[in-house]
C-alpha cells in the first residue's frame, strides 16, 4: 500500500502509464490552420449546433470540478447510513435543503445548497484504473490505446471558438493523466493551463500580465513594431499556413493580454474579501472563484483539478481533515454565487472523479478503486437541480435502478452545452468519430 499524501496529485499507479500504453497509431496531427480560429464561422454556417439545447439559444458555460484519484461516493454524495459499520464508515448522513436527499455529514455547506445541483448515483463503469478511467470520464469514450479522444472542453472549444478574446477552454493545473485535451483533434484544442496557486497573494496567470517594467504602452509599441518589421511572408496570398497561423495566435494573445476584460477576469483582488473567505482561502476555493470570473469574462469551459482522492489508507481522516472541507466550501460557494448572480442557468457545474471507492473499508482504513458505482454531481446550465437520479444498492456496490453509463453523462453534458453529440469529426487516420460515442442524455435532468 502506498502512503498517499493528501493534496499530492500522485495516484497509486505511479507515473502515467497511459503513455506507454498509447501506441504510435496517433500520427502527426494534421491540423495546420487550426479550426479553432475558424470555429465561429463554422457555427454561423449552421453546421454545428442543434438548437435543442436545454438552455435554448443561450451560450452555456461549464465548470468541471475534477476530483482526481476517485472520490469515495459513500462518504460524499451517496451516504449509506443503514449499511454495516465496515461499509458506512465513520461519517453520518445529514438532511439537505431538499426533502428526502441526504449527503455525508462532512458536506454541511453543500447540504444547504442541494437545491442548486443534482446527483446521479447510478453511474457505473468497468474501468477501475486511474489512467484509463480518467480518459473515460473526461471524454465520454472508453480508453483506447490507439486514439486519444478530446475532452468536453476541447470539443466546446472546437465547436464554439473564442469569445471576448478569452481562450475557450482553461484548466487549473495540468491535464489529469494527460487526458481531457484536444486528443486526436490536435494540441490546438488543449486547455489554456493556469499554473500557480490562486490562493497565493502574488498569484497571477502566467504570461498574461506583462513582465515588470513593461506597460501597455510598450506592449502596444512592440505590437506595432512587429507589424512593421515582421515582413517575412508578408504576402498573405502565398504565405505558408504555419506562418498565417502564428499571426492569428499573435493576434489572439495580444487581445488577451491587452483586454481589460481578461485583465479583470484574472484579478481575484477585485473580489470582496468576504466572498473570497466564503469560497475558502485555499487553492481550490480561490480557483473556484477565479473560474467564475473567467466564465463571466467569456471562457466557455473551466476545469479545476483537485487531487488527492485516492484514499487507499486512512480514508476518513484524509477526507475529514484535508479533502472534504475545502470541497464543501468552494463548491457550495460557487453554486450559490452563480445563483445569486443569475449565472447558474447558463453555467453547468459538474463535480466528479474517475470512479467511486470500495464500499468495504480495507485493513488500512482506506477504500480502494470501485467503478461499479460512481456519483456525479451536476446541475445548472439548464440541467435540473435538487434531484437525485438513480440509486445504488444497499451497500453502494452497483446501481439498484436506472444504471447509467459514462457515455450517458457525456451525452448530458453535450446536450446542455448545445452540442450535437452525433456530429462526426475526422480523426487523423481519416476515421469518422462521433463527438459522443453512443450515450443518451439523461432525461430526468434535461426534462
Amino acid at each position: 500500500m502506498f502512503d498517499i499524501e493528501v493534496g499530492n496529485h500522485t495516484d497509486c499507479d505511479g507515473v502515467t502509464r497511459r503513455d506507454f500504453l498509447r501506441i504510435g497509431g496517433l500520427s502527426a496531427l494534421g491540423l495546420t490552420l487550426p479550426g479553432l480560429l475558424e470555429a465561429h464561422a463554422d457555427t454561423k454556417a449552421g453546421v454545428v449546433t442543434k438548437a435543442t439545447a436545454a438552455g435554448g439559444q443561450k451560450d452555456i458555460a461549464c465548470i468541471l470540478i475534477w476530483l482526481s484519484g476517485g472520490p469515495s461516493h459513500i462518504d460524499t454524495f451517496d451516504p449509506k447510513p443503514d449499511a454495516p459499520q465496515d461499509i458506512r464508515g465513520s461519517f453520518k448522513a445529514i438532511s439537505t435543503n431538499v426533502a428526502g436527499i441526504q449527503l455525508s455529514d462532512q458536506l454541511p455547506k453543500l447540504a444547504k445548497q442541494m437545491d442548486k445541483f443534482s446527483i446521479i448515483r447510478s453511474v457505473t463503469s468497468p474501468d477501475g484504473t486511474h489512467e484509463t478511467a480518467t480518459h473515460y470520464l473526461l471524454t465520454g469514450y472508453p480508453f483506447a490505446p490507439a486514439t486519444e479522444y478530446p475532452g468536453y472542453g476541447a470539443v466546446v472549444a472546437r465547436e464554439k471558438g473564442f469569445q471576448n478574446n478569452m481562450p475557450p477552454y482553461a484548466m487549473f493545473g495540468g491535464m489529469p493523466n494527460m487526458h481531457g485535451g484536444g486528443g486526436y483533434m490536435g494540441a490546438v484544442y488543449n486547455p489554456f493551463i493556469i499554473n500557480g496557486d490562486a490562493n497565493s497573494p502574488n498569484f497571477s496567470v502566467q504570461d498574461v500580465a506583462p513582465p515588470n517594467g513593461v506597460d501597455f504602452a510598450r506592449l502596444d509599441r512592440r505590437r506595432m513594431m512587429r507589424q512593421a518589421l515582421d515582413d517575412w511572408q508578408r504576402n498573405k496570398e502565398t504565405a505558408s499556413k504555419s506562418s498565417q497561423t502564428m499571426d492569428e495566435f499573435y493576434h489572439r494573445a495580444f487581445s488577451l493580454v491587452t483586454s481589460p476584460d481578461a485583465k479583470k477576469a484574472f484579478n481575484l483582488k477585485e473580489e470582496p474579501a468576504k466572498l473570497r473567505d466564503e469560497y475558502g482561502r485555499n487553492t481550490f476555493g480561490q480557483s473556484c472563484l477565479l473560474a467564475r470570473r473567467m466564465v463571466e469574462a467569456g471562457v466557455r469551459c473551466v476545469s479545476i483539478n483537485n487531487g488527492g482522492w485516492d484514499t487507499h489508507t486512512d480514508n476518513f481522516n484524509a477526507l475529514k481533515n484535508n479533502l472534504l472541507p475545502p470541497l464543501d466550501m468552494g463548491y457550495s460557494a460557487l453554486i450559490n454565487d452563480l445563483k445569486q448572480r443569475g449565472m447558474l442557468d447558463t453555467t453547468l457545474v459538474i463535480c466528479m472523479g474517475e470512479f467511486g471507492r470500495t464500499p468495504r473499508i480495507n485493513s488500512s482504513g482506506g477504500r480502494d478503486h470501485w467503478p461499479g458505482a460512481i456519483s456525479v454531481a451536476i446541475g445548472g446550465g439548464g440541467v435540473k437541480t435538487g434531484m437525485v437520479v438513480g440509486s445504488s444498492n444497499a451497500n453502494g456496490e452497483y446501481p439498484k435502478d436506472r444504471p447509467l453509463r459514462v457515455e450517458d453523462v457525456a451525452a448530458t453534458i453535450y446536450h446542455a452545452m448545445g452540442i450535437n453529440g452525433e456530429k462526426e469529426y475526422m480523426s487523423p487516420q481519416e476515421r469518422p468519430l462521433k463527438i459522443n460515442y453512443d450515450g443518451t442524455p439523461i432525461s430526468e435532468l434535461i426534462g
Binding site: G25, S27, M225, L229, Q233, R431
Partner: protein, 854 residues
C-alpha cells in the same frame, strides 16, 4: 476487482480483447455497394485536350474466370500521341471471338463454357485485344465462407465499424471488423446463440437471410434483395450445410488494381478501377465488386464504392484498395497546370544530387509544377546551420561565407557544419528522442550511459546499420553498456516488436497486436512471429551499485517463447514480410543456434537489401531536412500510405546504402541538392504545393534550437538545473531537465516511439510566452546581455541596430526597417533609448522570420 453486475462482467471480458479493435474501427464505407450502373448510352468521350489517338489497350491485359459465378470487368484505355491517356471503357465497342463468354454489361464478362476467347475492343480507328480464359464454368462450386460469404458481409457493410463490426457488435451479433477474423465470424454466425442465426433445414428461414432482406425487423434496414445474386450465394452456402473455413482453400496472396497510376488532366475526369485478386493456387478472380475503395484525399479525387474515380482538385492522391486482408493503392494525379508531354527529363547517367534533383523535377513535371528559384547565400547559411546543427550561424561565419567567391562554397559550408561538435549534439538529441533516453525510466546512470553512447555514435559518425545492430544485440549492465537500455525502455516482446518495427522499418505494427491490420497486409501471426525474436531477453537486477542502485543487466535466457494469442501456437521468430514457407522446405533451423536469436534479426534488419530499413531512414532524414517526408507521417511506411515519389525515395535510400549507411554522407548529398536550396517563397503557381518540394517548406525552430538562438541573440546563457552554466538546450540529456519553456514549445517527453511526440503546433501559451513571458523579457533586458553591453560600451544607434539584427536574424536591417527604428529613436528621450532597443530585440525574437527556419 469483483464485479457483481452481470452486464458489467460481460463488458469487462469483451473490453480486454477488443479494446484495440474498437479503437481501430476503420472508415465505414458508404452503407452499401450498389451494382455497377448499367451504361447503355455509348457516347463518345470528350477528347478536348487529346491529340491523335495512338494506341488502345485493355486492362487487365489477360482475363481469367474460374467457376460458374465468376465475372471479369475490363477497362479500355486510349493512349494519345501527346502521351496523355483516357478511360474510354464506356465508349469502346467490345466484340467476342467465341461463345465461351458473354457480355454481362458494357465492360463485364461472364462465363458460358470452358475455353478461350479473344476480347476485341474498338474505339475510333484503333482496336485492342485481350485473351479471356474460362475454367470450371459448369463445375458445381461450393460456396466458400472465406472467399464468398465474408466478401458479401463486407460488400453490404455488415461488418463495418458502425454495424456488427463494432466493438461489441450490434444486436448481439458480432463480426470481425471488415472480416479479418474469419474463424471468429464463422463461430459467431453458425454456432453462437445456439445456432439460431441459421437454419440448415430451411435455409431461407435463417435469420442470416431474413434479417438483411428485411423479412423480419432488422436494425440495419434492408441490405440484401431477396433473390439477388448475393442472396442466392448465401442461400447456397446454407444449403451446402454452412461449411466453415478450411486451411485447404486458396487464400488471397495479393491484389492488383488497374490502373495502378493515372494522370487525370483536369477536374471532372473519370477513371474506373478494376481489382484482381491472385490466390495461393495461382488463380485470379475479379473482386472489384467486393473491394473496399477509399480515397485518401477527397479534395483531389473521389472514389465511389463501385470504383469510379472522379478528379476534383489539383495534386496527387492514392485510392486505398482493400480486399481479403491485402491492401494496395492506385495513384491519381491531377496536374496543377496543363502538362506538356515531350520534354521528358532524362535520368541517364545521373548520380547523387543530380539524380535526386532530376527525380524531383520529373515528378514536378508530371504534376505540372515549377520550382521556386534558389535561395540566396544568407538564407542558405541560416537554413543549413539550423537543419544540420540546430544552431544559428555566428555573424563571423556569415561574413566569411558571403565573402567567399568559391564556386563550391555551399558544399564546403555543409562539410564544415557536419564536422562541428554541434552536429553530434543536435543529432544525439534527435536520436535520444527516438530511442527514449529518459532517467524517469532508466535512472540517472542508465540515462547517462544511454545518452552518452548515442552521442559517441554521432561524434564518430558510426554507420547507422552498425549503430542499429549494436542496439538490437545489446546485452549487459544498463549502467555501463549504453545500448542495453534499449531493452529497458521497452521490456517485453510485444513492446520491443512494436518499437523496433516502428523505429527502424517505419512499420506500425501496433494494430496487429489484437487483430489484422486494417490498412495493411500484416496479420497477428506476423506480429507475434516478429515479437518472438525478443522472447528470451531477461532483465536481472544487479546490486553492483548497491541494493538501491537500480542497475539492470540485460541477458539472454535459455528459454522463452512467444505464443499466438488466439491459437497459442509457438511462434517461430520471423522477419516482417518473410513467408516461412518460402524460407525453407518445412524444416526450420534452430533460431537459437547462435545463442542469441536477436542476431538473426539484427542481420536481417540492417542488411543492404532490406529496403524497409533503408527507405525508412531515407524518408526520415528527407523529412527532417525538407519539413515533409516523401512518405508522411515520416514514420508510417505502409502500402496504403504510399510515397508521393517512389523513385525519389528509392534513390535516397540507394544513396544511404551505397555510402555504407553513412548518415553524414546522406545529409551532405541532400543539403547540396538544388531541391534543398530552393527559396521558401512560393510562386503564384506553386505556393499551394506541400508535397512535391517546389519550394522549401518553412519549419518552426525546434524548442531547443529556439531557446539557444534566443540566448545567442540576447548574449545570455540559460542555466539548467544540475548542469553546468553554458550547457545549451540542444545538449540536454533528457526531458527531465526542467524547462517550462521547452515543454511549451513541444519538447517531447520521450514516452512514445513516434516522431509525432515532438510538435511544432502553435498554441496560445506559446505566443503568450514569446510576447509577454518573463523568461524572454529577462533575457532581452539582462544587465550583462548583448544589448546592455552595447549600451555600456556607448555603441552608436547604428551599431546597436546592426548587431541586434545580425545576432537574431543573421542579416543587416533593411533600409525601411532602419528608417522606422531610427525615426522612433529621434522621438525618444536618451534615457528611454535602451527601452526602445529592448523592444526592437524582443520584436525581432517574436518575428516569424526568427521563429521559423526558412
Amino acid at each position: 476487482m469483483p464485479c457483481s453486475l452481470p452486464r458489467l462482467s460481460v463488458t469487462v471480458s469483451l473490453a480486454t480483447g477488443s479494446l484495440l479493435l474498437f479503437a481501430l474501427q476503420i472508415v465505414p464505407v458508404c452503407a452499401q455497394k450498389r451494382r455497377r450502373p448499367d451504361v447503355t448510352s455509348r457516347r463518345p468521350v470528350a477528347a478536348a485536350s487529346h491529340s491523335a489517338l495512338a494506341t488502345l489497350s485493355i486492362e487487365p491485359s489477360a482475363l481469367q474466370m474460374v467457376g460458374p459465378r465468376s465475372l471479369a470487368h475490363f477497362l479500355v484505355m486510349a493512349h494519345y500521341a501527346n502521351g496523355s491517356v483516357a478511360d474510354v471503357t464506356e465508349s469502346a465497342v467490345p466484340t467476342l471471338s467465341t461463345q465461351t463468354v458473354r457480355l454481362a454489361g458494357p465492360a463485364t464478362l461472364r462465363p458460358v463454357k470452358d475455353g478461350v476467347a479473344t476480347l476485341q475492343v474498338r474505339f475510333g480507328d484503333k482496336t485492342a485485344a485481350a485473351k479471356v480464359t474460362v475454367q470450371d464454368s459448369s463445375k458445381p462450386s461450393s460456396v466458400s465462407f472465406n472467399n464468398d460469404v465474408i466478401p458479401i458481409f463486407t460488400r453490404y457493410g455488415c461488418n463495418q465499424g458502425s454495424c456488427h463490426g463494432a466493438q461489441y457488435g450490434k444486436g448481439g451479433y458480432k463480426l470481425s471488423l471488415a472480416g479479418f477474423d474469419t474463424d471468429l465470424d464463422y463461430v459467431n454466425t453458425v454456432r453462437q446463440t445456439k445456432g439460431r442465426r441459421i437454419s440448415l433445414a430451411e435455409p431461407e428461414r435463417s435469420l442470416l437471410l431474413l434479417k438483411p432482406a428485411l423479412l423480419v425487423p432488422h436494425g440495419g434496414g434492408r441490405r440484401l434483395e431477396r433473390g439477388s445474386a448475393d442472396y442466392k450465394v448465401m442461400a447456397q452456402w446454407l444449403q451446402d450445410g454452412s461449411p466453415g473455413p478450411t486451411s485447404k482453400e486458396p487464400q488471397v496472396a495479393k491484389i492488383d488494381v488497374f490502373p495502378a497510376e493515372r494522370i487525370l488532366p483536369t477536374a471532372g475526369q473519370k477513371q474506373r478501377l478494376v481489382v484482381r485478386a491472385t490466390y495461393s493456387d495461382g488463380t485470379t478472380r475479379d473482386v472489384t465488386d467486393q473491394t473496399r475503395l477509399t480515397t485518401l484525399n477527397d479534395a483531389i479525387a473521389s472514389c465511389t464504392p463501385e470504383g469510379l474515380v472522379t478528379s476534383i482538385g489539383k495534386g496527387q492522391t492514392a485510392i486505398m484498395v482493400r480486399y481479403g486482408g491485402q491492401a494496395t493503392v492506385s495513384t491519381m494525379i491531377v496536374p496543377f497546370t496543363p502538362i506538356k508531354i515531350g520534354n521528358a527529363i532524362s535520368l541517364t547517367g545521373l548520380t547523387g544530387t543530380a539524380r535526386i534533383d532530376a527525380l524531383v523535377a520529373k515528378k514536378q513535371h508530371a504534376v505540372g509544377l515549377l520550382s521556386s528559384p534558389l535561395c540566396d547565400d544568407r538564407t542558405f547559411i541560416r537554413r543549413v546551420s539550423f537543419d544540420l546543427t540546430g544552431t544559428p550561424p555566428p555573424p563571423e561565419r556569415i561574413t566569411t561565407f558571403l565573402a567567399s567567391n568559391s564556386s563550391d562554397k555551399r558544399e564546403k559550408l555543409v562539410d564544415e557544419l557536419l564536422a562541428s561538435p554541434e552536429y553530434a549534439d543536435f543529432w544525439s538529441l534527435k536520436w535520444g528522442d527516438l530511442l527514449r533516453s529518459n532517467r524517469a525510466n532508466l535512472g540517472d546512470k542508465g540515462m547517462w550511459s544511454f545518452t552518452n553512447w548515442i552521442h559517441t555514435q554521432f561524434v564518430q559518425n558510426r554507420p547507422v546499420d552498425q549503430f542499429v545492430h549494436d542496439l538490437i544485440v545489446a546485452q549487459g549492465s544498463t549502467f555501463t553498456t549504453g545500448p542495453s537500455n534499449y531493452y529497458r525502455v521497452a521490456n517485453n516482446p510485444q513492446d520491443l516488436a512494436e518499437t523496433t518495427s516502428q523505429l527502424f522499418l517505419g512499420v506500425r505494427l501496433q494494430c496487429t497486436r489484437c487483430h489484422h491490420h486494417p490498412f495493411e497486409k500484416w496479420s497477428q501471426t506476423d506480429y507475434y512471429q516478429f515479437a518472438a525474436f525478443f522472447a528470451r531477453i531477461g532483465l536481472k537486477n544487479s546490486t553492483d551499485f548497491g541494493i538501491f542502485g537500480n542497475e539492470n543487466v540485460v541477458k539472454i535466457q535459455s528459454g522463452g517463447e512467444v505464443g499466438h494469442p488466439k491459437s497459442g501456437a509457438r511462434m517461430y521468430p520471423t522477419p516482417l514480410g518473410v513467408t516461412l514457407a518460402t524460407l525453407t522446405d518445412g524444416k526450420l533451423p534452430d533460431p537459437d543456434a547462435s545463442g542469441d536469436r536477436r542476431r538473426a534479426l539484427a542481420d536481417w534488419l540492417t542488411a543492404k537489401d532490406n529496403r524497409l530499413f533503408a527507405r525508412n531512414l531515407a524518408n526520415r532524414y528527407w523529412g527532417y531536412l525538407f519539413t515533409r517526408g516523401i512518405v508522411n507521417p515520416i514514420d508510417d511506411q505502409r502500402v496504403t500510405n504510399p510515397p508521393t515519389n517512389p523513385e525519389l525515395l528509392d534513390a535516397v535510400a540507394d544513396e544511404l546504402v551505397g555510402s555504407h549507411f553513412d548518415l553524414k554522407h546522406l545529409l551532405r548529398v541532400l543539403c547540396t541538392t538544388q531541391t534543398y536550396q530552393r527559396s521558401s517563397e512560393g510562386t503564384r503557381q506553386n505556393f499551394k504545393d506541400e508535397t512535391f518540394f517546389t519550394h522549401y517548406l518553412p519549419k518552426r525552430l525546434p524548442a531547443e534550437s529556439m531557446l539557444d538562438a534566443m540566448d545567442f541573440a540576447c548574449g545570455t546563457r540559460e542555466k539548467f538545473n544540475g548542469l553546468p552554466l553554458g550547457t545549451r538546450a540542444i545538449q540536454l540529456p533528457d526531458p527531465q531537465v526542467n524547462s517550462d519553456f521547452l515543454d511549451t514549445f513541444g519538447r517531447p517527453q520521450r514516452l512514445i516511439a513516434c516522431e509525432c511526440e515532438r510538435t511544432a503546433e502553435p498554441n496560445l501559451s506559446q505566443t503568450l510566452k514569446l510576447m509577454n513571458g518573463d523568461k524572454l523579457n529577462n533575457k532581452v533586458t539582462d544587465g550583462n546581455g548583448r544589448l546592455a553591453n552595447l549600451i555600456k560600451a556607448k555603441a552608436t544607434n547604428e551599431a546597436i541596430l546592426n548587431e541586434l539584427y545580425a545576432a537574431s536574424l543573421g542579416r543587416p536591417p533593411r533600409q525601411e526597417e532602419r528608417r522606422l527604428i531610427m525615426t522612433a529613436l529621434v522621438f525618444t528621450s536618451p534615457k528611454d533609448r535602451k527601452s526602445v532597443f529592448e523592444d526592437v530585440l524582443l520584436t525581432l525574437l517574436n518575428s516569424k522570420e526568427f521563429l521559423f527556419n526558412h
